[in-house]
């Protein structure tokens, strides 16, 4: 599983960060950082929820 963020769409609403803080962090500079772009399988459910809940549909998963 590989996390891909479309930074042209991302608005740093930080929904992903509240769902999966292990993977996503919006920092003080207000940009989103992907902490691990190939997260372990046990985080899949959380990452999928983050994908689904992103208000801008800016996150996708590649298997």
């Amino acid at each position: 599983m590989r996390v891909v963020v479309d930074y042209d769409l991302c608005e740093s609403n930080a929904v992903c960060m509240s769902v999966a803080p292990e993977v996503f962090e919006v920092r003080d500079d207000d940009f989103l950082y992907v902490l691990q772009d190939q997260p372990p399988e046990e985080l899949r459910a959380k990452v999928e929820e983050a994908v689904e809940r992103c208000p801008k549909q800016a996150i996708s998963l590649e298997d």
Binding site: N13, S18, V26, D30
Partner: protein, 396 residues
């Protein structure tokens, strides 16, 4: 596991779609029907006051249901508002007279915008649905000499910003002396108004609309201070009312919304979610109704799970939050400011329009408001969930 064989979800927007997903993903393998008043498949509303209204996005881009939803095996009943409910017989009647039987029901009928008495004149709009948006967009594309936006809440403010982005002259009329003053306090509210003034909006505070005048089409708005503003387009953003009129006579409890318990359950086999639902929020110890985007997802999901869980359902008590984009400003609010006793800016400043303000009630931080500070706001959201104490928050 539940013993339901047929579930109907009324309301095909964000809450209803997520309730349907939760029901299916929770293992329900019976008949699942999604009823929607609008003819459209579920779509996302936030872009309606921004990207779609600006003309940057075509409506198709707001579609919510993805190919993953094909697996939900839904029966769609779109363009059919719910008309009546027989709770004892577990039967739902639609506007066209069709009757659906259910043994599990999710009510997510949302809310409808309040309107002014406009004499039915053309050019007067509300903004809630995709059709509302496209009608307003067509009027904006015709190049009106001035747009009057009534109500400086978040919808009105976003519409004003989008109209300015189109180069249109805008008057923003707000009955309160400070926009959102009751919610955010005078200083933060005044800052929001200043953002609009800086962008060239004619902001009129503390005045209401006495009349919408003209012929077949609106020509001017008469204000409560005696002023008159000529305009071709009026957008009314004065709040919404929960869509419960079809439930009158059903025996279900109605009080500015459909009343549910802490688990989102209204009655045996019936749950509620989204803008329509007033439920017992255990974190705040009161019945609340929340109209935010993220809330519709979270409560829709929770209500679907509660329906399957029956008596084993859990309480739903998240910290609410939302965002609003206006010009190049992103405003976020997490928590509830109701009954706050103190506001303090803990990061940035109101003057630079980049800040975090915390709201205190008793010894607790109850809310955080941010402008162009999404990263810190995300962290405050988490700390609110952890019931952070005021002294710890402002000292640390």
């Amino acid at each position: 596991m539940s013993d339901l064989s047929s579930v109907v979800v009324i309301g095909a927007s964000l809450a209803g779609l997520h309730a349907a997903r939760a029901v299916r993903r929770g293992g329900f393998d019976g008949d699942l029907t999604l009823v929607g008043a609008e003819p459209h498949r579920p779509y996302d509303r936030p872009p309606l006051s921004k990207q779609v209204l600006a003309g940057d996005w075509e409506p198709e881009r707001t579609a919510l249901a993805s190919t993953a939803d094909d697996d939900l095996d839904l029966t769609w009943r779109l363009g059919q508002p719910a008309a009546a409910l027989d709770v004892a017989a577990r039967r739902l009647e639609l506007a066209d007279g069709a009757v659906l039987s259910y043994d599990g029901l999710v009510i997510a009928t949302g809310a409808a915008p309040r309107r002014l008495d406009d004499g039915g004149r053309a050019g007067v709009h509300v903004l809630r649905s995709l059709d509302d948006c496209l009608a307003l967009r067509a009027d904006l594309e015709a190049g009106p000499s001035r747009v009057v936006v009534v109500g400086a809440g978040f919808i009105g403010a976003e519409v004003a910003a989008t109209c300015r982005g189109r180069g249109l002259d805008v008057t923003l009329v707000e009955p309160l002396p400070v926009p959102l003053g009751r919610v955010l306090g005078d200083e933060v509210g005044a800052t929001l108004a200043e953002v609009h003034r800086d962008e060239g909006v004619d902001v009129r505070l503390g005045v209401g609309v006495d009349a919408v005048e003209g012929g077949e089409r609106v020509e001017r708005v008469r204000l409560s201070d005696g002023a008159s503003v000529d305009c071709d387009v009026v957008v009314v953003g004065i709040g919404v009312a929960p869509s419960t009129s079809w439930l009158e006579g059903s025996g279900l409890p109605l009080q500015d919304g459909l009343v549910a318990d802490a688990t989102c359950r209204v009655a045996p086999g019936i749950v509620a979610a989204g803008d329509v639902a007033r439920w017992t929020h255990e974190r705040y110890g009161e019945d609340v109704r929340v109209e935010h985007w993220d809330h519709a997802i979270a409560q829709g999901t929770h209500a679907g799970q509660s329906l399957l869980a029956g008596d084993g359902a859990r309480a739903f008590a998240p910290v609410p939050w939302f965002w609003s984009d206006q010009y190049d400003r992103k405003i976020m609010l997490a928590g509830r400011t109701q009954g706050y006793e103190e506001v303090r800016v803990v990061d940035g400043s109101l003057a630079e329009r980049r800040f975090v303000a915390l709201y205190r009630r008793g010894h607790q931080v109850v809310a955080a408001v941010g402008m162009n500070r999404p990263g810190p706001l995300a962290k405050w959201r988490q700390r609110l969930d952890d019931d952070v104490a005021w002294t710890e928050a402002v000292d640390g």
